[in-house]
Assembly symmetry: C2
């Protein structure tokens, strides 16, 4: 419960209408797209940076946790108020403030939605390339806080490659300018880059300056089917090593293919691995590249390859991948696609052995692990298919998850390529960052001496904090496990 | 003077042959390419990360400054031992450890030279794009420490866009792994990115994992002459806004043109501004883009435009830009091109008004400011042309520098696009980063509690520390101002 004096002052800062403490409102902020649930004590919707600064200073005075939040599409509990406190909804700060394509930058507020920004940029033949699965809903502020990316990272990089400058309200309330509006900047420590992926633990991002680039003129798509996963992996390596730099390569394993065929009439080939390969650029380059991609796939062992630059056919070829996430949650009656080990990244050539290891781990635990993702940049997504009401399934799901992350770390991979750490991946991130974790804590303690900014996440997660909060366990005003809404996996990747 | 006990232990760590205290050796490490000079108390050449870790722990025990150093090509005094201590030459750690182009990364030791890495990558049709002026000499470790870039940043970004992972010896001696070997990584705070541009104040980089990309197949060059600087600036904006994304646009102002014509027989047109524009990519794209560039230059007011993809002619067209730095230092007998305000960056469209402001400032102070640089990414370089033995020239040169930086900050620009802060630009970086500077200091104090890593630079510079150290003033064993070697401007940009 919040102190009444705190609450009165909070309302004084953001206005009564932007500060809510009723259960219905708090419930709406109790979860993101992942498995963790906890209600904040209050929800505020600030409209200005100054309001945020004043609020953060107040929170320091009263030692109240502050949990920044964009659209809530993340999958790891980043914005779940596991220690109570104030959920800060930034979606109201949603103006595109400046577009200067001839200077290659835009300035936006954190609540601007990814697709809306790109719609505005498209009018000028420019774009902001990272392409998250939640593009229609996710905010630029959330993308920056989590260093989001998507299908095009192999060619275009992640959000961290595009943020030039930030305005940030620090954990102690100061409003700070980081980075610049210039393409190059070596002026002092790269604080703006450091904030990317700090997941609201080091401050609240209130303005973002993004580099933008011209949109490619054309793209083309190829779909290749491989009887052997290893051959698909070799195909990816052969394409990149040739070199052809695709704009994306999506992988679907046999579980994903089966799920899509069960749920749709797409009739995908029942093989070990499908690759959906995209190239973009100048029309002549696209033509040459997609032909070369098809040739390399065949010589790497593909049993079938189709490629096209026809707009209608491209949409059809992408359908299998697009329908996969809902298809996976319908894989088996009463089962759900649970977000446990959801976002590993490995060196690209390690994909086949990693996916094989995942299957072996799943078999050992009597569950199913579906693997798909952005093969071109080594970013694998998995869903654990299991009965979420069966405690034994949870036990095996979590053991499998631990083993999956171990397998990833063993090949030089990382816990999370684009979703971030939050709650779900905190123990695995900590295992991966053994030599770094104490320095992460030092920085956090230095910049946030009262530990109010999104506390107890990432490096500060402790076993005891979260075990009672996990879906589908019903907690104070939380989800009814029999409610089918509870099975939705929320975000997308 | 170093404590004998410290020195004995230091020799025990790196070996007698890799630890030198004689004046001749220390003198060689007393400067970089800039204007500041100070001899370290010792020079060491470590061969392993473990030696560096042991040495840093020892330095903490004895509170001795440690100054990491690559090839010494920087221009701002980054590696000048202004507080004495041990200069750590990392050039001996120069192995390319791994090349995995099909995984899009390489692993190198810090002493690997930029051009050598790219020669090795070229065999596989790949490259590491940042293109510093000192490419033939500078080390990858130095590039990472200073977040170096060069002529191609508009299209390919700076070093910060390519570093995936680092091994770092922290200021307290711990060996820490940061980042990863994967293209994507959202696993914890982005420490690897934060180290880029920290200029040796937060640790010693002992291994670098770099993303690499396929080399473009072809390039072409255009040279356009503009009677009015504003028209050249408009031309740059029109090219980018069209959009054509060039791989680089180099600007030369009238002072640079005059200097080149005085020193060579190239016979450049005596106009207000020359642009050297490069495009690269697929041959068809290059053909279309360079034709479009020429067309846009003409419609923006260029009095002459030449473009070519002929290898021999390209070399000739680049000659003016290539010969400019030595030409500037011969501009007037007894004068030198002094590195004071050397590396500002502004939003691209602000270039014309900024260069005009520089000329007005120079006129006011009776000196000459030559401006050139990477117009496509807004990164301007200037040299102050003056008599380095005339104290009045220094006074005016430094006043002009302060006004130049003020003009840059007034248009939303930054103190340094690619050279870094070091000593020379410390006061201006501090003026620019008003809201951030205290947080820079906090991080430094937290990670380096004994303040031993390259101390008294960047945010920690104080007026009193450096005024007696500046070239051409002769200090203990330092440079004789009558020695013509003293006039060399060292690095390149």
């Amino acid at each position: 419960m919040l102190d009444k004096g705190f609450l009165d002052k909070l309302k004084g800062i953001v206005g009564d209408e932007n500060c809510r403490t009723d259960t219905a409102e708090r419930y709406c902020y109790a979860f993101d797209g992942g498995i963790h649930r906890a209600m904040p004590d209050a929800v505020v919707r600030p409209q200005t940076t100054q309001q945020i600064s004043d609020m953060v200073k107040l929170a320091n005075e009263y030692k109240v946790p502050i949990i920044p939040r964009g659209a809530g599409t993340a999958l790891c509990g980043h914005s779940v108020a596991i220690s109570g406190g104030v959920s800060v909804d930034l979606q109201g700060m949603n103006k595109i403030k400046e577009i200067h394509v001839e200077d290659l930058y835009v300035v936006v507020e954190p609540g601007v939605i990814y697709d809306q920004l790109n719609a505005a940029l498209a009018e000028k033949k420019f774009f902001f390339p990272p392409d998250p699965g939640s593009a229609e809903a996710c905010t630029i502020g959330g993308m920056a806080a989590c260093n989001a990316s998507g299908m095009r990272a192999i060619k275009y990089g992640a959000t961290r490659e595009y943020v030039l400058g930030l305005e940030v309200v620090m954990p102690t309330g100061e409003i700070v300018e980081m980075g610049s509006r210039t393409i190059k900047d070596s002026s002092g420590y790269q604080f703006a880059k450091f904030m990317l992926g700090s997941e609201g633990t080091l401050g609240i991002i209130t303005e973002i300056t993004l580099r933008v680039i011209p949109k490619p003129k054309k793209n083309a798509v190829a779909v290749a089917a491989f009887n052997k996963l290893e051959e698909a992996g070799q195909g990816v390596s052969n394409i990149i090593g040739y070199p052809v730099l695709p704009s994306g390569i999506e992988l679907m394993d046999d579980v994903c293919i089966k799920a899509v065929n069960q749920a749709t009439n797409l009739g995908l080939p029942e093989v070990e691995a499908l690759l959906l390969i995209e190239v973009d650029g100048h029309p002549e380059a696209v033509k040459e590249d997609i032909e070369k991609v098809a040739e390399i796939c065949k010589s790497s062992g593909a049993t079938s390859v189709e490629y096209t630059d026809d707009e209608k056919r491209k949409v059809e070829l992408r359908k299998g991948r697009k329908s996969m996430i809902p298809a996976l949650s319908r894989y088996k009656p009463e089962w759900a696609a649970v977000i446990l080990a959801d976002d590993m990244a490995v060196p690209i050539s390690k994909i086949p052995q990693t996916v094989k290891a995942f299957h072996e781990i799943a078999d050992k635990h009597g569950i199913i692990v579906a693997t798909y993702g952005h093969a071109a940049d080594g970013n694998l997504h998995t869903k654990v298919l299991m009965d979420p009401l069966d405690p034994e399934h949870w036990k095996h799901g979590e053991q499998a998850t631990a083993e999956i992350f171990e397998a990833v770390h063993n090949v030089g991979g990382t816990t999370t390529g684009e979703h971030g750490t939050g709650i779900t991946k905190a123990p695995y991130m900590r295992a991966e960052r053994k030599s770094l974790i104490e320095f992460m804590k030092k920085i956090k303690r230095t910049l946030d001496p009262n530990n109010i900014m999104n506390p107890n996440k990432m490096m500060d997660w402790e076993e005891g904090i979260i075990t009672h909060l996990r879906y589908p366990v019903n907690i104070g005003g939380g989800t009814d496990p029999k409610n089918p809404e509870g099975k939705k996996s929320g975000g997308s990747d």
